[in-house]
């Protein structure tokens, strides 16, 4: 009897994740309480502990879902078949799009107590995977005579993309700009320029 109100919930774990994700998308992970979540799902406060060892584990699961959503588009044939330079620009834009549409999720993925001071080791893997496609594209786009300078160029491009994504969400990109040009309009300029800077001598 799917959907009927039973004592046993059909799939409480999935309900918890989906509802928590919605709540986080609205008000951030800080204010999410397991008790409030349980109440919203219609279950007592002890029930979630049969599906997650603690609050941290639930947040971790949601963060990992977020990374999968972030990484998936970077592995499509559409992206992979692009020439290296076009690919790294496309990846940068994809990263920025994700950050712009899921700002609260980004906080959970990169700035939450899951990552600092004691990082969940599982999450570090995903954090690195999240930028790997970007880094590979820079390396592949580099002419052979610059490969020895590879690291600083990779670091430079990745830093620019991440900094741009985060600072925009924090509202720190228009400090006292009177004729405020929207950063969205300058994204591709910044990305293209830093991509060029990563490749040119």
């Amino acid at each position: 009897m799917a959907g009927a109100k039973t004592y046993h919930k059909e799939d409480l774990r999935r309900d918890l994740l989906a509802t928590a994700r919605d709540m986080i998308a609205q008000q951030g992970y800080h204010t999410l309480s397991l008790r409030g979540l349980a109440q919203k799902v219609g279950v007592t406060s002890g029930a979630p502990y049969h599906h997650f060892s603690d609050r941290r584990a639930l947040l971790l699961a949601i963060a990992i879902e977020g990374f999968e959503d972030l990484i998936r588009p970077t592995q499509t044939p559409d992206i992979l078949k692009l020439p290296p330079f076009d690919r790294l620009v496309a990846l940068g834009r994809a990263y920025l799009d994700f950050a712009q549409h899921q700002p609260r999720l980004m906080e959970l993925m990169y700035e939450s107590e899951l990552t600092t001071p004691a990082l969940a080791p599982e999450l570090l893997v995903y954090q690195r995977q999240g930028s790997q496609a970007l880094l590979d594209a820079v390396t592949e786009a580099l002419p052979a005579n610059m490969l020895n300078d590879r690291i600083s160029r990779v670091v430079g491009y990745w830093s620019t993309v991440y900094g741009l994504a985060v600072l925009r969400n924090k509202g720190l990109l228009q400090p006292h700009e009177p004729k405020a040009v929207e950063p969205q309009d300058t994204d591709h300029l910044v990305i293209a320029r830093s991509a060029k800077a990563a490749l040119q001598p």
Copy 2:
């Protein structure tokens, strides 16, 4: 009788700030509890509320102290008298040095619940002030024929510096680098390159 153990503490507010700053520097702001702090200072749990309206206010005071430490070196004559290009590189390095030496404080200043989702408006002023010297230097260093492209160049340089500072603290700059060149060694390379990229056509 300074230092004598009196009922009235000499300057509890200062003690609380100093001790809290130490605790945050060690384990981050997440795990800081007012009760634990009060106990460490040797006072009951209600005492801090005579000096700070709530936990948030104490964290805010510490964050603001941090911004003052971050901003002060950017306003010295030594820095201000540098030519624009040298100045913006020096400012970038100063920013990175601060982040490297105070990683937990950086989290409080830029990634804590003070800043998201409901930002303390006082803090936004300091956050913007923290990058203002950087932005000014880029603008001043720009030749007249590029001023119309000013915003994207300023945004690009600031994003690179911030991204580099934060990603290094998160350990996200050496993903699977076998012969791991320390990011410290590439800082000036990255900064100099992004500074150049911000200025050149």
